[in-house]
């Protein structure tokens, strides 16, 4: 009997062409060799602390708390990391691992461009070649990030196949990896894909909850009642949840992109509208039609515009340990503007989905409740698109 690896409940696995099996096996061996290696972890910690600016602060949003009149709200400020999002946590880990494996070239998919920028940054720092695949639609709505990646020395390939968004960029990356396994590492940006990616990316992102747990204990002397994070593939969400999973009293809430609403076809809310399937190397929930064709999803947020969700989230949903709610474009844009004015923090439109649900939830809770909302990235990249959404043309 063959042994299916990397399962989270019934989810996960390695559903990939034979051509990629040696590559993921090589990666698994290397990861197991280095993940507890003191030297590797010392180097990674040095990069995270002295280059990426960790630990990120846990900020008490006092004005927002008072305005909403309910639970005490803390913001985990991943937007303050170098390159402006949580993506750098995973990228530095994988780039360092790739370097140890003797790889000289990094490839990556990107949606909003945050993971692409982070990968291009790590490649520049570690002296590696870098090619970023990005859906053509996304290159247009995130033009500034395309320029940043090029500035950092990466080649950016505009992907025109399929829906020309994040899922197609993943397809292109897998295809590219197949043709150049020798010198190339696929630096996957979320907790998705075939084993060992969901585990590797989760471990590197778990730094978020490792820090926030210590920070909230320091500030409040107790654990939070809720942890909220936006959730597309789910890397910042799993990172935000991970060290609380065994703390039953901590409610974990992933905020999905409902787009124009979960009762429309223009949505990317996988848990709320998808069904069990097999795609991009994993068994999980996917937005798909009755014949298993992957649905063209939609969200104002390029980073959440993905038809699947990581297998560990699928398991947390099955067990009821985490809850996944849907937040519309309208609600996210309102929250984007709200946090900017209320706290002087412009969140990424992705993160604004979590802020939007916090705005709904906090007023329903007593004042002695505590919630942590992860601000996964900064919103500068979204300003032009949000202005457009509000009917204003600005030139970047």
């Amino acid at each position: 009997m063959a042994d299916s690896k990397g399962r989270f409940g019934i989810h996960g696995g390695q559903y990939i062409p034979e051509t990629l099996m040696n590559a993921v096996n090589e990666l698994e061996v290397a990861y197991n060799r280095y993940k507890d290696d003191p030297e590797f972890n010392r180097e990674l910690k040095d990069l995270l602390d002295n280059y990426a600016g960790r630990p990120s602060i846990l900020y008490y949003a006092e004005k927002m708390t008072k305005d909403l009149g309910g639970a005490k709200i803390y913001l985990k400020r991943e937007d303050l990391n170098h390159t402006g999002s949580h993506k750098i946590n995973n990228v530095l880990g994988q780039a360092l691992l790739a370097k140890k494996m003797g790889k000289t070239r990094l490839i990556a998919e990107t949606g909003a461009g945050q993971h692409g920028v982070a990968t291009a940054t790590a490649a520049a720092l570690l002296g590696m070649e870098c090619v970023i695949f990005m859906g053509k639609v996304d290159t247009e709505r995130q033009a500034l990030n395309v320029y940043r990646m090029k500035l950092l020395g990466a080649d950016v390939v505009s992907v025109t196949t399929g829906t020309a968004t994040l899922k197609d960029a993943v397809n292109a990356c897998m295809g590219e990896w197949t043709t150049r396994l020798d010198d190339t590492h696929y630096c996957l940006g979320s907790v998705m894909g075939p084993h060992p990616f969901p585990t590797i990316v989760r471990d590197f992102q778990a730094v978020i909850s490792r820090e926030s747990r210590a920070q909230i204990l320091e500030a409040e002397g107790r654990l939070p009642d809720y942890v909220l994070a936006c959730c597309g593939g789910g890397s910042n969400a799993i990172g935000s949840f991970y060290h609380y999973i065994n703390d039953e009293g901590v409610g974990l809430i992933g905020c999905e992109a409902a787009g124009r609403g979960i009762d429309t076809f223009e949505t990317a809310a996988t848990i709320n509208t998808g069904k069990l399937g097999i795609f991009h190397g994993m068994k999980s929930y996917f937005c798909q039609d009755e014949y298993g064709q992957i649905a063209p999803v939609y969200s104002i947020s390029a980073g959440l515009d993905y038809p699947g969700i990581g297998p560990e989230h699928a398991m947390l949903h099955d067990s009821g340990r985490a809850q996944y709610v849907a937040v519309t474009d309208d609600e996210a844009v309102d929250a984007f503007e709200y946090l900017s004015r209320m706290e002087g923090i412009i969140p990424a439109i992705e993160s604004a989905h979590a802020v939007a649900y916090a705005k709904k939830l906090a007023p329903t809770l007593d004042k002695d409740k505590i919630m942590i909302v992860t601000i996964s990235g900064r919103g500068d990249k979204d300003c032009a698109a949000i202005a457009r959404y509000r009917g204003e043309e600005i030139y970047e």
């Binding site: 063959a2 390695q14 559903y15 051509t19 014949y291």
Partner: protein, 258 residues
């Protein structure tokens, strides 16, 4: 066990590939009839998937085009049924598709339906050895072989894959820049030999093979030639008129490998 072995009883097998529903299902059916007449040994039918990640951009585009025109798994089953019942088509079929197409249909329901229609094998591009058990048992119960693939990166995985394989082995060569000719002369013989060291099972190959000369060369080491590129080019060129041109092409390929 399926009847795939019969495709190899009269010497080298020529196995044309067709993506169902491109440009439309009637053309697909017409091409299948002509392929059988022209002496093909078996036909590989691809059920389009929205994200044909294991194949190149050409198949990805054809797949999306076919899906946009409304092709579905059920319509493909219907086509096979009418070919069997109304056109008296006897040739064995192998389905090629992706895990989610079969999984979402219900593995059992899919295999049962396919088996009733004389489908002998199933190739799932994104199901490697490690994940095959979920599909393989149900395939076997229905007399369908789940076809395994060996590629240049399989290396030490080959014995494990081949020893549990059934029906035939799909030899996949790399898409790299060395070109088809190079792959035919060096990679394919090497991979076929690595399979035969483990088991006596037919080896079919074909990524990128389109001319009779290439087919003849590849058939020196492989037991069957699976041809996609040449057929796709003909269909792209002649569209709804493709059936009239497929026959001659298949004949030329069949005679090249005999």
């Amino acid at each position: 066990m399926s009847n795939i072995y019969k495709a190899f009883e009269n010497g080298k097998a020529f196995i044309p590939f067709i993506l169902c529903g491109d440009p439309d299902i009637e053309t697909t059916a017409g091409c299948i009839v002509e392929m059988e007449k022209a002496g093909a040994s078996m036909i590989e039918l691809e059920i389009p998937f929205s994200d044909a990640t294991a194949e190149g951009p050409v198949i990805m585009e054809c797949s999306i085009r076919a899906l946009e025109k409304g092709i579905t798994t059920d319509k493909i089953f219907e086509m096979v049924k009418s070919l069997r019942e109304e056109k008296n088509v006897k040739i064995p079929f192998v389905f090629m598709t992706y895990a989610n197409v079969v999984f979402s249909y219900g593995i059992e329901r899919f295999c049962k339906r396919a088996s009733e229609l004389g489908v002998e094998g199933l190739i799932l591009a994104d199901v490697p050895y490690e994940e095959k058990d979920e599909f393989d048992g149900i395939c076997k119960e229905n007399g369908i072989d789940l076809i395994s693939m060996i590629t240049p990166t399989s290396c030490e995985r080959t014995p494990m894959i081949v020893s549990s394989a059934s029906g035939m082995i799909y030899i996949g060569t790399s898409f790299d820049s060395n070109g088809v000719e190079d792959a035919i002369k060096t990679e394919i013989p090497k991979l076929c030999a690595s399979v035969r060291e483990v088991a006596d099972i037919p080896c079919v190959t074909g990524f990128g093979i389109s001319t009779p000369e290439q087919a003849a060369e590849a058939a020196k080491s492989a037991d069957g030639i699976l041809c996609g590129t040449g057929i796709i080019e003909l269909i792209a060129k002649y569209k709804e008129d493709a059936p009239a041109h497929i026959g001659d092409y298949v004949k030329s390929m069949v005679s090249a490998i005999k």
